[in-house]
Structure formats: structure tokens, C-alpha cells
């Protein structure tokens, strides 16, 4: 294992996502490599920033109100929920100005998935943890939900190709 490979595995390792066959070589590398041990410490330092400010407080009676609204036809004083459809994307000030047209494509993708939420979720569940480090871990053709998923899958595959290219040696 080289340092580049070790670097990409440190996160999954500390997240408890590696099996022993994967963690063993990483540990051996860490024993031998001070640089990557620093990487581990750096990762732990980073994670200590993710703290919740305060406990969540759910307003009293929330569930009762929601249930009532649901069974009453959801119409009273509720934010209207538009149908899942792409809308022209509003580009905010700041960092977005150099992001052209394709803003929102992923959102449409996500929303597309939502429209078949349960089905899509079930299909994706089929990819197993044991395959996790194999290349091309994307949706296989036989796992593809039908119909409306087509466009979503296209987007997904584009993203996966792009992201897959980003991590070398996997």
C-alpha cells in the first residue's frame, strides 16, 4: 500500500467502514509511515469540529399537528409543496456566478429519485458492502429501476465516472 491509497482509506477506516482484510494493510502502512499517521491525527482533529450546538427541541404538539394536517388533507396554513418538477434555477450571488446552466441538474436527479423513492432505495440496497471497494461499484443494469429512473441513472453514472476518476488506485 502506498501513501495515496492509505490517504483515501483513512476516512473509511476511522468511520469503521473497512473490513479486516482492508484495515490490516492500512495498519501496517501506518506503522511504517509517520506521514500517514499524521494524516490519521489530522482526520481525528477535523472530526472534533462536528458537534451539535445544543439538543434538538421539537415544539410541543408537533406530531399531533402534523398528523392532523395529514388527515385533514394537508391544506391548512401549510407550505405548499410543488410537484416534483424542474424549475429554472436561481443563481445566487457569490460563488455560483461561474456555474452555468447545469445548476440544479443534480437536484432534479435527486427529486427524480424521490418520485420513486421506495423503489429506487430498494434497488440500490442490492449493492453489497463486500463489493464496496471494487471498481465500478455503480448501479448495474439489472438493478436499474424502470421508467423514470432512466434520466436519473444517466446523471448518476456521469457523476460516478467523474468521481471515480478522482480517486486513483481504487
Amino acid at each position: 500500500m502506498n501513501c495515496n491509497q492509505a490517504t483515501t482509506l483513512i476516512g473509511p477506516y476511522l468511520d469503521g467502514e473497512l473490513n479486516e482484510a482492508q484495515a490490516g494493510p492500512l495498519r501496517r502502512h501506518l506503522l511504517a509511515c509517520a506521514g500517514c499517521r499524521t494524516g490519521v491525527q489530522s482526520h481525528k482533529d477535523l472530526q472534533r469540529w462536528f458537534v451539535e450546538a445544543e439538543p434538538v427541541v421539537v415544539p410541543a404538539g408537533f406530531a399531533a399537528r402534523v398528523a392532523q394536517a395529514a388527515f385533514a388533507g394537508e391544506s391548512r396554513a401549510l407550505p405548499t409543496v410543488p410537484a416534483l418538477q424542474p424549475t429554472p434555477f436561481v443563481v445566487a450571488a457569490g460563488r455560483a456566478e461561474d456555474r452555468p446552466r447545469a445548476e440544479g441538474r443534480l437536484l432534479r436527479f435527486v427529486l427524480g429519485l424521490t418520485s420513486v423513492a421506495a423503489a429506487a432505495t430498494i434497488m440500490v440496497v442490492l449493492s453489497t458492502r463486500d463489493n464496496r471497494l471494487s471498481e465500478g461499484a455503480g448501479l448495474r443494469a439489472d438493478e436499474r429501476p424502470r421508467l423514470t429512473m432512466d434520466q436519473a441513472v444517466e446523471e448518476l453514472e456521469a457523476l460516478q465516472r467523474a468521481e471515480g476518476a478522482g480517486i486513483a488506485g481504487r
Binding site: 482533529d45 450546538a53 434538538v56 408537533f62 441538474r105 432505495t121 478522482g166
Partner: protein, 199 residues
């Protein structure tokens, strides 16, 4: 969670059969987690409650599509994330980086410098505020994986199911997201950088 699954499924069936109290129980069971998730996207309390309500109402409308093959919380989280992203989009906050956004596609470079762990003297609320400010700098696909992993502590498989992506994509997205987060903290607060010679 395993034991809850059957019970969730029962509540879902009862809700679909017209039992309002069963749906209320389902909401009560998950409301805290949904609020915790959504407050990473909105700060204002009434906005938060609206989003949470919207999430559960969407779930109610789609309940017949929930077949119990995935856990209910994965399903409701997924609706919550989509609801939050949709909300940000409507508010004009540049939320989603498209798949061919150069910022998203950029090589996951190692960020120069490290951030130190939060100093012991730093108030918890301040640590949370710094992290939240840094998260808000990130494209939403990165913010979302960090929220789901670092705050909600979901397994990669759950995140993958929820977002409809592969585990490999979860890993690479998290890798990039953490690098971006570090970069954002250092840009916002150079004083939290770790000294080069610190061990």
C-alpha cells in the same frame, strides 16, 4: 432499530388504513432525528418546523410507496434531505452543484495545512458555529454527506441508500467534502490552523 422495523411497518399499515394516531406515533418516533437533520440546512425555528412538517406530510402522501424493504428512518431522511435542498433552491441559495460543475469535479487535492482540533477553551456553541459556517460554504452534495456521516453518524450503506448513490461514491464524496470543509474552516478562521511542527 432492527426491532423497530416491524413496528414501523405496522404503524405504516395502520396509517394507510386510516389511523391518524398511528401516523402521529410514527412522527413522534422520528421527529427529533428529522429536526436534527434539517437544522443543518435552516436556522430559523419556524422555518425549521415548516420544513419538518413538510417532510412528514410528503412522507404521508407517499406512504403507500414505502414497502418496508429499507428502514423507515432511511426513507424519511431521504425525504427530509430532498425537502431541505428544494427549500434552499427556492430561496435562491445556490444549493446544488451540478454533475459537471468544475468545482465538484476538481481533483480531491490535499489541502495545504491542517486544522487543529478545537481548543479546549473554545465553547461548544462556538465550535458548532464555526463548523456550520464552514458547511454552508460547501456545495450541497458535500454538505449533505458530511451532515449524514459526521452529525447523524450514518453508515456509508445508509447514506448510499438514502442518496441513491454507490458506496464508492459516498467514499469519494466524503473524501472531497472533508478536504473542502478543512479548507473552508482555514479560510474563515486561519487562527484554527495547526502549527506545522505540531505533533
Amino acid at each position: 432499530m432492527e426491532q423497530e422495523a416491524a413496528s414501523d411497518a405496522a404503524l405504516v399499515s395502520e396509517t394507510l388504513a386510516g389511523n391518524q394516531a398511528s401516523f402521529q406515533l410514527l412522527v413522534e418516533r422520528y421527529e427529533t432525528r428529522v429536526f436534527a437533520l434539517l437544522r443543518h440546512y435552516v436556522k430559523n425555528a419556524s422555518e425549521l418546523e415548516d420544513l419538518a412538517q413538510e417532510t412528514f406530510l410528503k412522507a404521508y402522501r407517499r406512504l403507500d410507496g414505502f414497502e418496508g424493504h429499507s428502514s423507515f428512518y432511511t426513507w424519511i431522511y431521504r425525504i427530509g434531505v430532498n425537502t431541505a435542498l428544494d427549500h434552499l433552491k427556492k430561496r435562491g441559495r445556490s444549493p446544488i452543484a451540478s454533475t459537471d460543475d468544475p468545482e465538484v469535479l476538481a481533483e480531491p487535492t490535499q489541502v495545504e495545512g491542517r486544522i487543529a482540533a478545537p481548543h479546549a477553551a473554545l465553547e461548544r456553541a462556538e465550535v458548532a458555529r464555526v463548523a456550520q459556517a464552514a458547511l454552508e460554504q460547501l456545495p450541497e452534495i458535500f454538505r449533505t454527506v458530511l451532515v449524514l456521516r459526521e452529525y447523524e453518524e450514518l453508515a456509508y450503506q445508509d447514506i448510499a441508500d438514502m442518496l441513491g448513490i454507490s458506496i464508492g461514491t459516498v467514499e469519494s464524496r466524503l473524501f472531497r467534502a472533508r478536504a473542502r470543509f478543512k479548507q473552508a474552516v482555514l479560510e474563515l478562521h486561519p487562527e484554527y490552523g495547526a502549527d506545522a511542527d505540531e505533533d
